[in-house]
C-alpha cells in the first residue's frame, strides 16, 4: 500500500490513488481533488505567485500534470488524461513534501518573471553556483528556502537555477548532470 493510500486511511478505501506510471492532469481546485495528496492547479499557481511573485497569467496557457509521487510537469499542448507516455512537457515542481521545490529547468524557463526571492550573483558567485558549489552569502537579508539564482548576461538578468538558502549559505542544487565549469565573465 502506498503512503498516499495509507494517508487516505478510512476516508474511502476505493478512492483513486496516484498511479506512478501515468500522467494525470491536476484538479482545478482542492475541492475537485479525487486523488489524496495531489496538488491542485490553484495551489500550484498560488505557490509560484507567493514564493516568486510570478503571476498566474504567465501559466494561463499551460496544463499541470503529475507523474510519480509529487512530480509536477508543465505542458503546453494537447494530451489525453491520463496519458501513458514517457513525458508530457517538462518537469516543473516537486510537491507532496513540506517545502515545494521548483526544478532548475522551470526556473530557467519561467524565472525571468519572478519579482521576489531572487538572488543576483556576481560573476564569480555565478560560476561557483553553476559548478554546484555551496557558498557563504551572509549579506542576503531575504527569505530562507528555495531562491532563484540569477546573474547578468549582456545587460540583462538571467536565471541560472535553484538555490537553497539556509544559515547564511546558498546551496547550489544544480543537478550533477547539469553542472558546468565556466569561466568567470566580468
Amino acid at each position: 500500500m502506498s503512503d498516499d493510500a495509507a494517508a487516505a486511511g478510512e476516508a474511502a478505501s476505493d478512492a483513486p490513488t496516484n498511479d506512478g506510471q501515468q500522467f494525470d492532469r491536476l484538479p482545478e481546485t482542492p475541492a475537485d481533488r479525487e486523488v489524496q495528496g495531489r496538488a491542485s492547479r490553484a495551489e500550484v499557481l498560488d505557490w509560484w505567485a507567493e514564493r516568486f511573485g510570478i503571476g498566474e497569467g504567465v501559466f494561463e496557457e499551460y496544463g499541470f500534470w503529475e507523474k510519480g509521487a509529487g512530480k509536477i510537469w508543465v505542458f503546453n499542448g494537447e494530451a489525453t488524461d491520463p496519458s501513458e507516455v514517457e513525458a508530457v512537457g517538462m518537469t516543473f515542481l516537486r510537491t507532496r513534501q513540506e517545502h515545494w521545490k521548483p526544478t532548475g529547468r522551470a526556473v530557467s524557463r519561467f524565472g525571468a518573471h519572478a519579482t521576489k526571492n531572487v538572488i543576483e550573483l556576481d560573476p564569480e558567485q555565478a560560476s561557483r553556483f553553476a559548478a554546484g558549489d555551496d557558498q557563504d552569502i551572509p549579506e542576503w537579508d531575504g527569505d530562507w528556502g528555495y531562491l532563484i539564482a540569477t546573474h547578468e548576461v549582456a545587460g540583462e538578468s538571467v536565471p541560472i537555477g535553484v538555490g537553497l538558502y539556509l544559515y547564511d549559505e546558498l546551496r547550489s542544487v544544480v543537478p550533477k548532470g547539469s553542472r558546468a565549469d565556466l569561466p568567470v565573465v566580468e
Binding site: 503546453n76 494530451a79 507516455v85 558546468a180 565573465v185
Partner: protein, 314 residues
C-alpha cells in the same frame, strides 16, 4: 571498401567531393529561439569572449572554431544547442507552424524535435517518438535544457506507431529523420565509413520504408511529411521514396532550401525510380562545405500539383 567510392558516379566533381569528405567539420550551435534570439546569443558570446563565425544561409547558426560548444553560459542557459549545419534542413523543409500537431517519428536525441518546437513558438503539440529508450533520455534532457514545453515523448516502433495514447489521431506534419548508414556524417565521425556494409543498407532501407509509410498514413490529407537521412545511398533515399509513392497516397513536392543542392537520382545500379524523386534534394559536402544529407518533402493525398503550394492551399 570505402562506401564513398560508390557515389563517385553521382557527383560532378569527384576530387572536390572526396576532399571535402576528408576535412573535419567545426562545432556548430543553433540559437534556441524559445530562450533567446540569435542577437542575444551573439551578445553573450561577445561578452564572454567565445569565438564564433556566422553561417551565411541561416542566422541562427554559429560555428565555434575553438570547439567546446557546451563550455559557455549561453549553452548552460539553454540558449544554444549543438547541431550540425545540415541537420537544421529537415525542419526548414517541414515548416511547422504554432498550434499544429507534429510527429517526429525517429526523434532522439532531439535536435530536430527542439528545432520544430522552436519553429512553433513552443505552441501546439510535438510528439517526439523513438524506439530506443536510452536515446530518449538524451532527448528528454535536451528538451528540458532548452525549455521546451509543448512536447510529448513516446517510446514506440515508428513502423506501427499507435496514436491511441494521444488526444488526436492524425498529424498536420510529420518528420521521418530516418536511422541510416550515415556516410554523410563522415566529416564528424570517420568510423561510419569503416563500419559500413551493404547488408546494413538493405536492412535499414526496409525499416525506412516502414516508418515513412506509417508517417504518411498518420498525417491528414493535405498535410506534409518530410523524409531525411544523412546517407548518400540511393537505396535509403530515392528507393524509399519510390516505394512509398507506389504504396501510399502521397506525392513529392518541390521546395526550397537555403543552400546549394542536387536533385534526387532516378537511376541506380539497374533500378529506376519515379521521375518525381528529382524533387528531393541531395546535399553533397563539397557544395556548401557541410556534412552530407538527403531531404524530401511529401504532400499527403494525391491532389497536389507538385509545387509547395501550402500558402495557397491553407
Amino acid at each position: 571498401m570505402n562506401p564513398l567510392d560508390r557515389y563517385e558516379s553521382l557527383v560532378d566533381d569527384v576530387d572536390a567531393f572526396r576532399a571535402a569528405c576528408d576535412r573535419s567539420l567545426p562545432s556548430v550551435v543553433r540559437a534556441n529561439g524559445v530562450a533567446a534570439s540569435p542577437d542575444r546569443v551573439r551578445e553573450a558570446f561577445d561578452e564572454s569572449g567565445v569565438a564564433y563565425e556566422p553561417v551565411d544561409w541561416h542566422d541562427g547558426l554559429f560555428r565555434l572554431p575553438d570547439g567546446n560548444p557546451g563550455g559557455n553560459w549561453p549553452y548552460v542557459h539553454g540558449w544554444t544547442h549543438g547541431q550540425e549545419e545540415v541537420s537544421v534542413l529537415p525542419t526548414l523543409a517541414l515548416d511547422p507552424r504554432p498550434g499544429e500537431r507534429v510527429w517526429d517519428a525517429c526523434a532522439a536525441p532531439g535536435s530536430k524535435t527542439t528545432q520544430i518546437a522552436d519553429a512553433m513558438d513552443d505552441e501546439g503539440t510535438v510528439v517526439a517518438n523513438d524506439n530506443n529508450l536510452g536515446r530518449l533520455s538524451a532527448l528528454r534532457h535536451n528538451a528540458e535544457r532548452l525549455g521546451i514545453t509543448n512536447t510529448i515523448v513516446t517510446n514506440q516502433d515508428a513502423r506501427n506507431f499507435s496514436t491511441k495514447p494521444l488526444a488526436f489521431d492524425e498529424f498536420d506534419r510529420a518528420l521521418v529523420d530516418a536511422p541510416c548508414s550515415c556516410e554523410g556524417t563522415c566529416r564528424k565521425n570517420p568510423d561510419v565509413l569503416d563500419q559500413w556494409t551493404l547488408d546494413h543498407v538493405h536492412a535499414v532501407a526496409g525499416i525506412q520504408k516502414g516508418v515513412l509509410a506509417r508517417a504518411v498514413q498518420a498525417t491528414r490529407p493535405g498535410g506534409t511529411v518530410v523524409y531525411s537521412t544523412c546517407t548518400f545511398a540511393p537505396e535509403e533515399n530515392e528507393a524509399v521514396l519510390d516505394h512509398v509513392l507506389a504504396n501510399e497516397d502521397c506525392g513529392l513536392v518541390a521546395f526550397d532550401l537555403p543552400l546549394d543542392t542536387d536533385p534526387g537520382v532516378t537511376e541506380w545500379e539497374g533500378e529506376t525510380y519515379d521521375e518525381s524523386v528529382t524533387r528531393a534534394k541531395r546535399i553533397y559536402p563539397h557544395r556548401n562545405d557541410t556534412g552530407g544529407f538527403f531531404c524530401a518533402k511529401l504532400r499527403v493525398g494525391g491532389e497536389g500539383d507538385g509545387s509547395d503550394g501550402e500558402g495557397v492551399a491553407a
